[in-house]
């Protein structure tokens, strides 16, 4: 059994239109670890996460989840991961609970489905509103529904693209607690991307800063602060991408 939750090696991606989104990036994520990908808009975070989630094919390099290649055995990979896209919705004609049940039934059988749903109810905190149609949800409610639908699957690697985007302070902090608790309770790995440096510093054991398709810095937040002699991660980030003006 492979001891790494995720190994990314020399990953490249050029889109059909010719955009070179990834120019060869490498990093690893250990089981039980929360790993953060940070970088400016268009750096290639979503591209990386979508390749790892089997949605896109890399044009170079590889990504392996617990030793399974994402290109060669996508179905096996999909059984181990759960992916929350950056921009995502749910079926608007379905009720919240029906959406969760749909996802649960794709991932489990029999009584396990109800167990998953119980867990999702708690995670979402949507209560009675789960019986309303998704089309009546606010942005924050929708995001909580989707996070519940992602984590209830109990993936060995959760891939979350900007999980707290669009959430208010209270909801964002609830989601962060849920993510942290999930990693601690299950020993699963979490790979997330974010623009929120505070969040990354609070959540992630290790981070990688990605800029124009390349990783420019990687390590534990504390070590990075030391390395860049910065007061916080935001400063590290700005210095790493060469945008620091003192």
């Amino acid at each position: 059994m492979e001891s790494k939750a995720l190994v990314v090696e020399g990953l490249k991606k050029t889109y059909p239109g010719g955009v070179e989104a990834l120019k060869g990036i490498s990093f690893t994520v250990n089981p039980g670890e929360i790993f953060g990908l940070i970088g400016p808009n268009g750096a290639g975070k979503s591209t990386t996460l979508r390749i790892i989630s089997t949605l896109l094919k890399p044009t170079g390099g590889y990504a392996r989840i617990y030793g399974v290649d994402v290109v060669e055995e996508p179905l096996k990979v999909k059984e181990m991961i759960a992916y929350l896209p950056e921009e995502s919705g749910a079926y608007k004609n379905l009720k919240g609970i029906e959406f969760l049940r749909f996802i649960a039934r794709l991932n489990a059988e029999g009584s396990e489905v109800e167990e998953m749903l119980d867990y999702a109810r708690r995670l979402s905190g949507l209560g009675e509103r789960l019986n309303d149609k998704v089309s009546t949800y606010s942005k924050g409610m929708l995001r909580r529904l989707l996070i519940a639908a992602t984590l209830m699957r109990r993936p060995k690697l959760a891939i979350l693209d900007e999980p707290t985007s669009g959430l208010d302070v209270l909801n964002a902090s609830r989601v962060r607690t849920a993510i942290r608790r999930y990693a601690e309770d299950t020993g699963a790995a979490v790979l997330l991307s974010s623009h929120n440096m505070l969040e990354v510093e609070y959540l992630c054991e290790r981070v990688a800063i990605i800029h124009q398709g390349l990783i420019v810095a990687e390590g534990e937040p504390a070590a990075l602060k030391e390395e860049f002699s910065a007061r916080n991660l935001e400063e590290v980030f700005l210095k790493a991408v060469g945008a620091w003006e003192s």
Binding site: P16, G17, L55, K57, E79, I81, G89, L94, L106
Partner: protein, 415 residues
């Protein structure tokens, strides 16, 4: 494939609850209205005076008077008569008793819908001439005893023309419309169900569930067929009442089908080869199935290249007229009477076979049904392979004319 039912369940729920689904039920009704106006315009295009060949075996005063009267309502000497009226020996004697006794042979030269209109024109002419005849002979109460026959492809059938076109037109045209409605629905449903995954940003979540992408696609296809049949069922109920209404107004034989005909009519139909053999029926059903696959595959391609339901809708809007043309064409024109080149062109058009099928079923044309089955299936399988390829590749996510354009505009703005 174990999770197929889960996908189908979600798709059906999502489709049936959509307001567009309700709207979809009205489209066929509009088609019905269009059909009605087409009927009346065909009626208008039929020549005012039918051509009737009169055979006078009686040579009495009454028969000559009838010939004079009939000449006012019909052409009596022409190349291709629409009907033959035979006045047998003793015609004059019967007229004096107040009975008009004649044999009318309605000659159908094709299975075009205008033939039925000509038949009723013949009826009108004979009735009017008979009325004039009785007026001349005076005072006697009239009784019309018309013995009606249908002549189809040189063969005399002992059934009235109403029964004949009830089968060849009424029944086969109902089949044509049933196929049309289900084809349009199945195609639109699958296109919209794929495009809406993009519009509402659910595609990426769906494609990362632990199921094969082909299962996701198959689930959509099955659900689209189920929902289309559901809509078809609702329409069938509506159509049933529609035809019931028509039937109550005209003669009951107008609703004869090869499946409910009984006794003498059935025997006559069988002799004329107008009852489908099991082989023809099997071929027909096969062709309908092939057409479904064909339409589904077009739907997948349209859905895959559309970014939202709106563009999927406008793309399908282009296809509906393309389907209407062969559908109307086969209703109003008998393909078999066209010159060879035109006939070949019509049959090579990939949408024609699914519509001609109804007529070939009632006339038991197994070779043509087989051709349609094979040809449509070839198109269906070819396009479905392409559709599955698009659906299971990343171009489903990355291809989109619209966002490419947007990105281009944005990059010009920022520079």
């Amino acid at each position: 494939m174990g999770k197929l039912n889960v996908i189908v369940w979600k798709e059906v729920l999502d489709l049936v609850r959509d307001p567009k689904f309700i709207a979809g039920l009205f489209i066929p009704l509009i088609v019905f209205l269009a059909m009605g106006s087409m009927f009346s315009s065909t009626a208008a295009s039929v020549p005012q005076k039918p051509c009737i060949a009169l055979v006078d075996e009686d040579s009495s005063q009454a028969s000559r008077l009838f010939a004079e009267a009939l000449a006012r309502y019909a052409e009596l000497s022409c190349e291709k008569p629409n009907a033959k009226v035979v006045l047998e020996k003793g015609f004059g004697a019967k007229v004096r008793e107040g009975v008009f006794d004649a044999k009318v042979y309605y000659i159908f030269s094709s299975t075009s819908i205008s033939e039925s209109e000509v038949a009723s024109k013949v009826d009108d002419a004979v009735t009017a001439a008979a009325r004039d005849l009785f007026l001349k002979i005076t005072g006697l109460k009239q009784r019309l005893e018309l013995k009606k026959y249908t002549v189809y492809k040189g063969r005399v059938l002992g059934i009235p023309p109403e029964a004949f076109y009830g089968i060849v037109f009424g029944f086969s045209n109902t089949l044509i419309w049933a196929v049309f409605i289900v084809a349009v629905m199945v195609f639109q449903l699958v296109a919209i169900s794929i495009a809406s995954e993009k519009e509402y940003k659910t595609l990426e979540i769906l494609l990362t569930q632990p199921i094969k992408n082909t299962t996701v696609l198959l689930g959509k296809l099955v659900a689209s067929i189920l929902v289309a049949f559901l809509e078809g069922l609702v329409m069938a109920v509506g159509m049933f009442f529609y035809f019931q209404g028509i039937a109550s107004m005209s003669s009951p034989t107008a609703t004869t089908t090869p499946f409910n005909a009984t006794g003498d009519i059935l025997r006559q139909l069988q002799e004329a080869g107008l009852t489908p053999t099991p082989t023809a029926l099997a071929m027909y059903l096969g062709l309908v199935f092939a057409s479904l696959i064909f339409m589904l595959s077009i739907g997948v391609v349209v859905g895959a290249v559309s970014n939202d339901t709106k563009s999927a809708g406008s793309l399908s809007g282009i296809l509906v007229p393309v389907l209407i043309v062969p559908a109307f064409f086969t209703m109003f024109i008998d393909i078999d009477t066209l010159p060879l080149a035109q006939r070949a062109a019509a049959l090579l058009f990939p949408f024609t076979p699914m519509f001609v099928a109804g007529k070939y079923l009632v006339t038991n044309n197994v070779p043509m049904l087989l051709y349609g089955l094979v040809y449509t299936l070839a198109w269906g399988i070819g396009l479905m392979a392409l559709a599955a390829k698009i659906y299971t590749s990343e171009s489903l996510l990355t291809f989109s004319a619209k966002t490419l354009l947007k990105r281009f505009r944005r990059s010009r703005l920022t520079h």
